[in-house]
């Protein structure tokens, strides 16, 4: 190896070290949120918090004053901590399942008790697997309508995508393909809409939607969300269509297509990646929005409202809130992952 190539390799290593550090720095908070969502309630309120969720729980059974004494291995203390002294096996099972987030059945617990009794020892040790998804199960079970709220959020996001792509896409096409009086002024004014605080629109919309019978309805929220995303969609789609040479369409028309056919068969497929990215923006906007949803719903909250309430409300348990937050983030991140290749094209116009 020449010194030059060593030098090059060293620089490459440093570069990737740098990139990795950057990535760790950026994603560390997310990592902890994920970890937190897998922690048991007991762990979640300890300090310091464990840096990784445990995959199993080491338990110890002994005799206490009121009955059996349950102890659990504490990673931070490197020792067993006594957590329960009871005669009530149901209570103990529930405690292990909920507070310790650990899988156990009545039979398994009874078996361990029997082992303790028959062994004649002071205490017996056993290990149970963790139920990593316990917080998620709880979140969806105990939180007021988490599941229907999730369905509503999906519905709202989809309607928002459709409205903004259809209406915004039409305008974007006009801005990209036609020269007309007032074009620039109009193009700027669609962005102007964003200058009025979204919350402030939501407040008078309560009455307007109520009159239309859409208050507290998914459709009503989708209509409001579209106001915000149409403007962006117009700009994004305009730049996408600008990137597709007009001659592609014109060729189709010369060869026998109507305007509509040439749009559907040529322009639309070519614009698809960019449109998908625009859809992602609309999706994220609708999916993540919380405030208007708080104002404009009553009995039919969206998923983000449910998470918000868990976060602020009395049910607020950090690990539950974390699970809710992650549950909310997963679809959004998933969507982003599939669309990541096209994201750049959204703002740039694409090269064909």
């Amino acid at each position: 190896m020449t010194s030059k190539s060593i030098n090059k390799a060293a620089r490459k290593t440093i570069f990737y070290l740098f990139v990795t550090t950057l990535l760790v720095g950026i994603l560390l908070p997310v990592y902890f949120l994920v970890t937190l969502s897998f922690l048991s309630t007991r762990e979640a309120y300890q300090f310091p918090l464990p840096m990784t969720p445990a995959l199993k729980t080491d338990l110890k059974l002994g005799y206490g004053e009121r009955g059996y004494l349950l102890s659990v291995w504490e990673r931070s203390e490197d020792d067993y901590a006594t957590v329960l002294d009871t005669n009530d096996l149901d209570k103990m099972r529930v405690y292990i399942q909920s507070i310790l987030g650990t899988k156990i059945t009545d039979e398994e617990l009874a078996e361990q008790i029997a082992r303790l009794e028959s062994s004649g020892e002071e205490e017996v040790f056993f290990t149970q697997p963790r139920n990593l998804l316990y917080n998620y199960e709880t979140f969806f079970r105990v939180t007021r309508d988490a599941v229907p709220a999730l369905m509503r959020s999906i519905q709202i996001a989809l309607i928002t995508i459709v409205i903004s792509l259809v209406i915004g896409g039409m305008a974007g096409y006009a801005f990209a393909r036609y020269l007309f009086r007032g074009r620039d002024a109009l193009k700027f004014s669609v962005l102007f809409v964003r200058m009025f605080p979204g919350v402030a629109i939501a407040i008078p919309m309560v009455l307007i939607l109520a009159n239309m019978g859409l208050y507290d309805q998914p459709m009503g929220l989708a209509l409001i969300y579209s106001v915000g995303s149409i403007g962006l969609t117009v700009w994004i789609t305009a730049s996408i269509f600008l990137g597709i040479p007009v001659s592609m369409e014109e060729a189709a028309q010369v060869f026998g297509a109507t305007k509509l056919q040439s749009f559907v068969r040529i322009t639309l497929p070519l614009a698809f990646p960019g449109l998908a990215a625009a859809a992602m923006y609309a999706f994220l906007g609708a999916w993540n929005e919380t405030v208007a949803a708080i104002i404009l719903t009553q009995f039919n909250p969206t998923f983000s409202v449910v998470v918000y309430q868990t976060l602020l409300g009395a049910t607020g348990q950090v690990n539950l809130a974390a699970a809710g937050g992650i549950a909310m983030a997963v679809p959004a991140v998933f969507f982003t992952f599939f669309i990541r290749k096209y994201i750049n094209q959204m703002w740039g116009g694409m090269r064909v």
Partner: protein, 306 residues
């Protein structure tokens, strides 16, 4: 009528209408779902709630609100610092990704995850991180930076100065927002022909002179788009503040709207305050946006592509 329909001039005029027809749905949509509520708010802001007549009293009340000026300055500081910070961080990231190193497309995806994270999820993340028992202190403890029993009260305690709260809010907000600014800049960077930058190197520029003299000027209209979008939303920051600090601890303008509307509902004053604040915020946003566009020269040269 048939004659008119088939005449050439009619057909040609018809074609001129096409772009307007395509834009019409947006306009109608905005009239229904934007203009109407905006007019409601505007009218409300000038209406005396008792007599129903015209008044400027609502605005007077806003200006007399003891939290108005703190909210104004907090907002101003957040906007200036965070837009600047986010812009440079986003530019640096975009330049890095634009080097197209091995794995850069996955890097891109991972870096934009914060953007996909819903506000409430992000809030949950930071809240659980920033409490004294949170993961940030835990991490510092595990790293040996904090001793046993020692804790940093990131958000709390009586010693939490406003400066610290502002700094934390700005950083937390930047974490969420940088990716979306970065994406716009990255797209712009990818549209700059390689030759332009290469010519800079050929004529003896180093990385930074090429960046300053060639890349950034060629990126200027993209930068405008990114900054203007960011500016508009930065002035409207509030949710993350309320989720982390609750109402009132670090008042900002939009937070005041929600505060008066949601937290002190039912009173006359709450409605007056909410509409008054709303109108003031929109005026400020518009002024800031136009001021920026003017300073950055957007009115001098308009370009079609973003």
């Amino acid at each position: 009528m048939v004659n008119v329909l088939h005449s050439k001039s009619f057909k040609r005029r018809q074609k001129k209408i096409v772009p307007y027809l395509l834009i019409l749905p947006v306009v109608i949509y905005y009239i229904f779902f934007w203009v109407r509520p905006v007019i409601n708010v505007l009218v409300g802001s000038f209406t005396d709630i008792n007599t129903g007549g015209f008044t400027l009293g609502n605005f007077a009340m806003v200006f007399q609100d003891p939290t108005f000026w703190p909210a104004f300055w907090n907002t101003a500081i957040i906007v200036v610092v965070s837009v600047t910070l986010e812009f440079f961080a986003a530019l640096a990231l975009a330049l890095l990704i634009n080097r197209k190193f091995w794995g850069s497309s996955y890097f891109l995806f991972l870096v934009i995850i914060p953007m996909a994270l819903p506000a409430v999820a992000a809030a949950a993340m930071w809240q659980t991180g920033l409490t004294p028992h949170g993961w940030l202190n835990s991490l510092l403890f595990h790293l040996g930076i904090l001793d046993e029993g020692q804790k940093i009260f990131w958000l709390g305690g009586y010693d939490a100065t406003k400066a610290r709260l502002l700094a934390i809010i700005i950083l937390v907000d930047a974490w969420t927002v940088i990716p979306s600014v970065m994406i716009i800049l990255l797209a712009g960077l990818q549209n700059i022909p390689k030759e332009a930058e290469e010519a800079g190197y050929v004529f003896g520029g180093n990385y930074f002179t090429v960046l300053r003299k060639i890349t950034i000027p060629m990126l200027s209209s993209t930068i405008q788009t990114a900054v203007i979008l960011r500016l508009i939303s930065a002035i409207q920051i509030w949710l993350i503040i309320v989720l982390l600090l609750g109402f009132g601890r670090l008042p900002v303008l939009v937070e005041r709207i929600v505060y008066y509307h949601e937290e002190v509902p039912g009173l006359d004053i709450s409605y007056q305050m909410a509409t008054g604040y709303t109108v003031i915020v929109s005026i400020l946003v518009s002024i800031a946006a136009f001021f920026y566009l003017y300073v950055s020269g957007a009115f001098k040269h308009r370009e079609d592509a973003v």
